[in-house]
Subunit: 156 residues, 2 copies
DNA sequence: TTATATGCAAAGGGTTTGCACAACG
DNA sequence: CGTTGTGCAAACCCTTTGCATATAA
């Protein structure tokens, strides 16, 4: 954990930014919740446990900064809320999302399924791919079975 | 063009909605700009040419309605603005986006590159895929050449 | 006629910004 | 020291809502 923080500290220092206590606390929250996709508000509430005097604006500014340095990913699941996610150690953009439109659950796919398609984009469109977003929308296992359950009830 | 409108009229009627003049004008704008990804504001301004007294709220309500009926797609390129896109005749989700993070241009890929991956999601995660979003982020041809141009300038 | 749809303006929610103050290097 | 960062509150922007009025079927 300290290793990650040191590394981020360096990435900041290179660009002339400082790792303040507020930023450190924010990074810590992100590290502790690497599995989730927290909104700025959620990050704010969690950071306040470590640093009660922090302001929401600071959290926004920190998340923006980390996003610019490609340390966190900023995404958007369709509700008008930005969500933030620490990028896994090194392997930048290797994850996709499976979003259930019934219950709102989000599952991550950890592999990169798109290498081939990226090459195709580069080849066919002369486009240099830096990153990608891939989301599947539909119904998850649980909600599917709930639905069949419900329709069984309706019949009987 | 009239054929498309009639069809949408039917889809509305089935659910008990009416094709008002405002809604017709909105649909017309979407048809005329099928290639673009208009924001609500942009749609509003274009619709006003046909129907000067329309309110922005009506445009929002119409776009929401059309989205619920799966007639338009609602998407989000990261700026905090929802964008709307008439779904091509029948083939629902068969397009992906290539977004240049330098100039903001958006190019569409018309094929569906994801059939295989969708099957994999269904198989490995028990997830019923209804739709997907795929976006590639990076630098387009034009911006790439501008960049190399610029660095050449810098050297000389 | 009656449910549905509209326009307007106000409210809402997330995000950004201006400014005076604090803190890092 | 000067630059960079912070907290607060106000400003901002896009979007949604309440309500009285208008309109489609």
């Amino acid at each position: 954990m300290q290793a990650e923080i040191d590394k981020i500290n360096q990435q900041l220092a290179v660009k002339g930014y400082k790792l303040t206590r507020q930023r450190e606390a924010t990074v810590l929250v992100l590290l502790e919740n690497e599995k989730d996709h927290l909104s700025a508000e959620e990050v704010f509430m969690l950071v306040r446990d470590k640093f009660p005097d922090i302001g929401l604006a600071t959290v926004y500014r920190t998340l923006d900064l980390l996003h610019e340095l490609h340390i966190v990913e900023k995404m958007n699941f369709g509700d008008g809320v930005a969500r933030y996610d620490l990028r896994g150690t090194e392997q930048a953009h290797m994850h996709h999302h499976i979003i259930c439109t019934d219950c709102g659950s989000v599952v991550e796919i950890k592999d990169d399924w798109l290498l081939e398609l990226e090459q195709r984009v580069e080849r066919e469109y002369g486009f240099t791919v830096m990153d990608h977003r891939l989301e599947f929308l539909g119904t998850c296992k649980d909600c599917s079975s709930k639905k069949t359950e419900a329709s069984r009830q309706a019949i009987s």
